[in-house]
C-alpha cells in the first residue's frame, strides 16, 4: 500500500530546480506532486513521478544525488475537518508525520495528500483500521 517518492539534494542557488524539471521533461517524465524543504544553504526536493526508475537514472546521470523513500498517499474527504480527522487518528495512534504535501490530482471528489511517517507500517495499519482510504502506488502514478 506504499507509494514511492524520489528525493533530490539541491544546492540553494538559482536554476537548480529548473534543471531538475528540464531533465525530467527531456526524458518525458511527468511530475505528479512536488514539495521542497529548504535551509539557507540547501534544499531537499521530493517528487512523485510516473516513472521512478527512469527519473532517478536520468537525474543520477546528470550528477544529482537521488534517494528513494516510501510514502503513503491518503484520500482526504473534500469537506471541512477532513484532514483534521486523519491527523487526529495518527496522533492518537502515536504515529509521527515527518512531512506531508498535496497531490495535484484528486481521486474522485477527494483530495490526495502524500504523507511521510516515521513508522510507515504502523501508520498504514492505523489508517486502514480507521477506515481511511490509502491509494496504492501503482494507481497513484496514473491518477
Amino acid at each position: 500500500m506504499r507509494a514511492e517518492q524520489i528525493s533530490i539534494f539541491l544546492e540553494n542557488k538559482s536554476g537548480r530546480l529548473a534543471e531538475v524539471t528540464r531533465i525530467l521533461s527531456e526524458n518525458k517524465i511527468n511530475i505528479r506532486a512536488l514539495s521542497v524543504a529548504d535551509t539557507s544553504d540547501f534544499g531537499v526536493l521530493r517528487l512523485i513521478v510516473d516513472d521512478n526508475e527512469r527519473a532517478s537514472r536520468a537525474l543520477k546521470e546528470s550528477g544529482f544525488t537521488v534517494g528513494k523513500t516510501n510514502v503513503v498517499a491518503v484520500e482526504v474527504p473534500d469537506q471541512p475537518g477532513g484532514l483534521y480527522n486523519i491527523l487526529t487518528i495518527l496522533q492518537n495512534g502515536n504515529v509521527n508525520v515527518e512531512y506531508m504535501y498535496a497531490f495535484v490530482q484528486q481521486s474522485g471528489s477527494n483530495a490526495v495528500m502524500i504523507f511521510r511517517f516515521d513508522h510507515t507500517d504502523d501508520a498504514l495499519k492505523l489508517l486502514q483500521d480507521n477506515g481511511v482510504t490509502v491509494i496504492e502506488g501503482r494507481r497513484l502514478y496514473t491518477l
Partner: protein, 433 residues
C-alpha cells in the same frame, strides 16, 4: 622480535652519545667533500667544529628538495663514483627527480634497518615474504628485498602489478608476510574477492605497508579484509629509503625512528624553529652514518609529531605519528596551521560522509573564514532536512575539536568540486595577502 637488541633498546644517554659522535663525523666529511654543504655552512657562519652538542644542530642550515634538484644528478654525493654501488631516484612527479647513491656500507646499513623493520612488523627467519613493492628506481622493492634476506626470511620478489598472478602465488606459495603500498593491498583484496579467494584461507599473519599516507580507517579495513595485523613503515629515498621508521606490531602506535642512523627534529614550518616533543610540525632528518649521500637537516615536508614515551615492545627509540599532511598544502587560518589532510580524516571518521570536499578560505572583516564544502553522496542524503543539518553540525564540531579551528560546513551537490586533470582541487584561497 627485536632484530638489533643492542641499538634498538639502548638507554637514551648512551644513544645520544653515539648520535653526537656520528653527527660530528658526518659534518666533517660533508664539509670536506660536498661543495654544496661547504658553501651553505660558510653562508650560515658555522663550522662543523661548532657543533658541540645535539642541541647545536639547530644552528645548521636546512637542506631542501630544491637543493637536491639543483645538484642533479650526482652533485650531492660525498664519495667518488667508483665507491658508489647503487643509485636510486625519486619519481619526480613535480619537477626534476632527485638522485641518491649508496656505498656498499650504505647498502648494508639499509638492509640492517629493513631487517629490523620487518622484524618489528612481525617477520622472523621462518617467514615467507610476499614483496609487492615495486622493484626499480623506487626504493620500496629492493629495500624490503635486502632486508628480508638479511633477516634470513624467504622473499618472493613479486613486485607490483599482474594482480591475478600475485593471487595465484599467494595461494600456492603460502607467504606469511606481505609488503606493499596500502592502496595496492586493498586493490589486491578486491580482485581476490572477485576471484572467489578468501584471505581467511591464506597464510598471512602480518602486513607491512607504506610509501603513501594511510589512515587508521584503512588499517582497520586492511586487517579485516586480509586477516592479518598491519603496521606502517616510513622512509624516503633522500634519507635512505624505507626503514627510516617503522611501527612495532605489539603497539601499532607510532613508528620507531632508527635514531642510531638518523636524527629527527620537528620544526615549525613557518619560522624554522625546533618544536618540543609532542608538538606537530615538519619532520627534519639528519643522516649520521651514510657515506655516499649524507643529508643534513633535510626538510621532508611531512607533518607529524614525535612521541618519546616508552613503548610496550621494549624499544627505546622515539616514535613518530602517522604522517598527517604535507607542508606544501598548509593553510594558516587565524593563526592555526591547518592541513587539508586533517580535514579529510575528520570527514572519514564521520559516519556516512565521504571525503569529497573542498576548503575555501576568505577574509571577511579582516578575519579568516574557512568554509568546508562537503559533497552529499547517497549514504549521507536524506529526504528530510534535519539529519542533513545535524551532519553539518557534527562535522563542524569534530573539526573544532580535533583541529581547533572554526569552520562553516556547507553541503554541496556531488561533482560540484572542481577537478583539474582528474585530481580534485582541495583548496581555494581567496585571501588577498
Amino acid at each position: 622480535m627485536i632484530y638489533d637488541i643492542e641499538y634498538e633498546t639502548m638507554p637514551r644517554e648512551a644513544l645520544e652519545a653515539i648520535q653526537l659522535r656520528r653527527l660530528q663525523t658526518t659534518l666533517e666529511r660533508a664539509y670536506a667533500t660536498v661543495p654544496f654543504y661547504r658553501k651553505k655552512f660558510t653562508e650560515a657562519g658555522v663550522m662543523p667544529g661548532d657543533i658541540k652538542s645535539l642541541k647545536d644542530l639547530r644552528h645548521l642550515p636546512f637542506t631542501t628538495k630544491q637543493d637536491l634538484r639543483d645538484n642533479y644528478p650526482f652533485g650531492m654525493f660525498a664519495v667518488p663514483m667508483d665507491t658508489v654501488v647503487r643509485i636510486h631516484a625519486s619519481s619526480g612527479t613535480t619537477g626534476q627527480p632527485t638522485v641518491v647513491g649508496y656505498t656498499a656500507r650504505d647498502v648494508n646499513t639499509w638492509a640492517t634497518l629493513m631487517a629490523r623493520s620487518l622484524a618489528a612488523g612481525g617477520a622472523t627467519r621462518g617467514d615467507i615474504i610476499h614483496n609487492a613493492f615495486g622493484y626499480g628506481l623506487f626504493t620500496g622493492g629492493l629495500g624490503v628485498h635486502y632486508g628480508a634476506e638479511k633477516l634470513g626470511a624467504s622473499v618472493i620478489p613479486v613486485s607490483g602489478g599482474n594482480t591475478k598472478r600475485q593471487i595465484t602465488i599467494m595461494k600456492d606459495f603460502g607467504p606469511t608476510i606481505i609488503t606493499a603500498t596500502p592502496s595496492y593491498v586493498l586493490h589486491l583484496a578486491e580482485i581476490a574477492s572477485e576471484l572467489g579467494v578468501d584471505f581467511k584461507d591464506l597464510s598471512f599473519k602480518f602486513g607491512i605497508f607504506g610509501a603513501e599516507p594511510w589512515s587508521e580507517n584503512m588499517r582497520e579495513e586492511i586487517e579485516r579484509k586480509l586477516h592479518l595485523k598491519a603496521v606502517d613503515i616510513y622512509g624516503l629515498s633522500e634519507v635512505i629509503g624505507p626503514g627510516v621508521s617503522v611501527e612495532c606490531h605489539e603497539a601499532q602506535q607510532g613508528m620507531h625512528i632508527a635514531e642510531d642512523h638518523f636524527i629527527a627534529e620537528i620544526i615549525d614550518p613557518e619560522s624554522g624553529e625546533p618544536l618540543p616533543y609532542g608538538e606537530t610540525g615538519e619532520l627534519i632528518f639528519t643522516s649520521i652514518t651514510k657515506e655516499a649521500f649524507p643529508v643534513l637537516r633535510y626538510r621532508t615536508r611531512d607533518i607529524t609529531a614525535i612521541n618519546p614515551e616508552p613503548c610496550i615492545c621494549g624499544r627505546t627509540l622515539v616514535r613518530m605519528n602517522k604522517v598527517s599532511g604535507r607542508t606544501d598544502d598548509m593553510l594558516i587560518i587565524r593563526g592555526v596551521n591547518v592541513f587539508p589532510s586533517q580535514i579529510e580524516s575528520v570527514l572519514m571518521e564521520t559516519e556516512d560522509v565521504e571525503p569529497h570536499y573542498q576548503l575555501q578560505v576568505d577574509r571577511v572583516d579582516n578575519l579568516d573564514k574557512l568554509t568546508v564544502m562537503v559533497e552529499v553522496g547517497e549514504h549521507l542524503f536524506s529526504d528530510t532536512v534535519r539529519p542533513l543539518q545535524e551532519i553539518e553540525k557534527k562535522i563542524t564540531k569534530n573539526i573544532k575539536e580535533t583541529i581547533g579551528v572554526s569552520a562553516q560546513v556547507k553541503l554541496v551537490e556531488p561533482k560540484t568540486i572542481q577537478r583539474s586533470e582528474g585530481k580534485a582541487v582541495r583548496v581555494i584561497d581567496n585571501r588577498k595577502l
